[in-house]
Symmetry: C2
Subunit: 255 residues, 2 copies
DNA sequence: GGTAAAAGGTCAGGCCACAAGACCTTTTAG
DNA sequence: CTAAAAGGTCTTGTGGCCTGACCTTTTACC
């Protein structure tokens, strides 16, 4: 009802102007999402152009322009010759701080809402996983947890962290939930690497380990309320860290 | 991890083939969604072509082809002359039963997952609304509830129902939640009208009234657990009805 | 150390969906 | 009866994308 007044007389929110996503837009978005979600970690190489053509089903110029955009924002670095390709840059937040300021800060309110939503959804996911958990679902969680606790490098920790949360989602037995969780992660991470934890945040890192352990136990024990509470708090802290990073970026931009 | 094996060697789910949505696809999808969500009820007329051009920012041939598709599936009926336009057909499920069978049945598993997800999400929404409710948020809910209880025609009930659930979402204070809820509704309703309740389902209708009343009261009283339980059950029942309708369609198709 | 393979870099030609705009036809309110 | 408001039709122009061939750079491997 309110929409009808707010949106310039449009009888439905669906009738807002259409933004025909071009193929280049789509590919650039996909690649950026894949990087943000952690499918390609800093230092790793994206598939070769001709491989991406095959995977994505688009032409080479399209892929090239998409990659050129990522390069333009400082997300990847192009190397030529054999073993060349688009390499994800280390800690690309710093190099693209300017881009972050221009892209993210104006939409900050939206990000706060997304943080909130993600906390709620992941809480719900954890509770549901605790209710429906099946013995065979616990196995991957145990594995990921072990990998996380024994991780030496931030990269390993990140991979294990991702695997763990994915395992929790999978334990709900609903693929749509996995997709929703992944989508939220992508929308939140579009501006910065998955876990923007520099060297100083190792402490949180370990606290995160406690969180993961407690979350696993509450799910394994079938305690929905506890699982929900832990997950929600966990993702709140995660959001808090990103806020800190952003605050630093903002400060750096104003100085 | 598993994805890397399952998806034909793709290193990331984001690298599946791109489907560049054409402008026509997008517009047709928007219109169908708007109808499915109940922004345009049976018997009502869509905005005129030239109006849609203005709203959607696309060219006339594009709008025309999109509308032609809706006509092709039997969703709208075109009338010419003054006061002409695309009118939403009454009970278009029946007229397009064949389309339903070909479109929906193959994806039935996905729909079951969406029903499940919707129940969980709406439960979470209700609980959150109960926790965060603000006096000014309760007003629209009361209004919609009153409208629902005093509705004479199914159409009025439908409008009020939609307004009520939207008000609950709004009470969470998070616009992203409103969008998520709307998106889920759209994805579920894409095949059939919002509330596929024929004359025989009036009983459920009334029970729905009880649900709405109880939901409002638990939110107003600030009882998250009760609100969550009511909402979840409410949407489970809703899903059950759609299952019934589909079962009937399937039976009609096999006979 | 040479060479071929594997990557990125460049370019030209052709196609198709879409945008813009003018104009025709049908219906109906007034 | 007439003009307005709708859908129906057509033409023309353009931009984005695909195809495909070829060039350049680097490096693994013989």
């Amino acid at each position: 009802m309110l929409d009808r007044v707010l949106l310039s007389g449009a009888p439905s929110p669906e009738l807002r102007p259409v933004r025909v996503a071009s193929a280049v837009d789509e590919v650039a978005d996909r690649l950026l999402t894949a990087i943000a979600v952690g499918d390609f970690l800093p230092g790793e190489r994206l598939p070769a152009e001709r491989e991406l053509i095959r995977l994505l089903g688009v032409s080479r110029p399209t892929v090239r322009e998409a990659i050129a955009r990522l390069q333009g924002v400082g997300v990847v670095e192009i190397r030529r010759g054999r073993n060349g390709g688009a390499y994800v840059r280390d800690s690309w937040t710093e190099s693209s701080a300017a881009a972050v300021r221009h892209t993210l800060l104006p939409r900050w309110e939206e990000f706060e809402q997304l943080f909130d939503l993600r906390g709620l959804v992941e809480g719900m996911v954890a509770a549901t996983a605790a209710r429906r958990r099946h013995p065979r679902d616990l196995e991957p969680m145990r594995e990921a947890l072990a990998a996380y606790l024994s991780a030496r490098t931030p990269r390993d920790a990140q991979t294990a962290d991702s695997a763990f949360h994915q395992a929790v989602c999978a334990a709900t037995g609903n693929p749509q939930i996995v997709m929703l969780s992944r989508d939220l992660l992508a929308r939140i991470s579009l501006g910065f690497p998955v876990e923007p934890w520099g060297k100083g945040e190792r402490t949180h890192f370990h606290q995160g380990g406690e969180d993961h352990k407690a979350l696993y136990e509450s799910i394994a024990a079938g305690e929905p309320e506890r699982a929900e509470e832990i997950a929600q708090r966990h993702f709140m802290i995660s959001a808090e860290m990103i806020r800190d990073v952003l605050a630093r970026v903002r400060a750096a931009g104003e100085s």
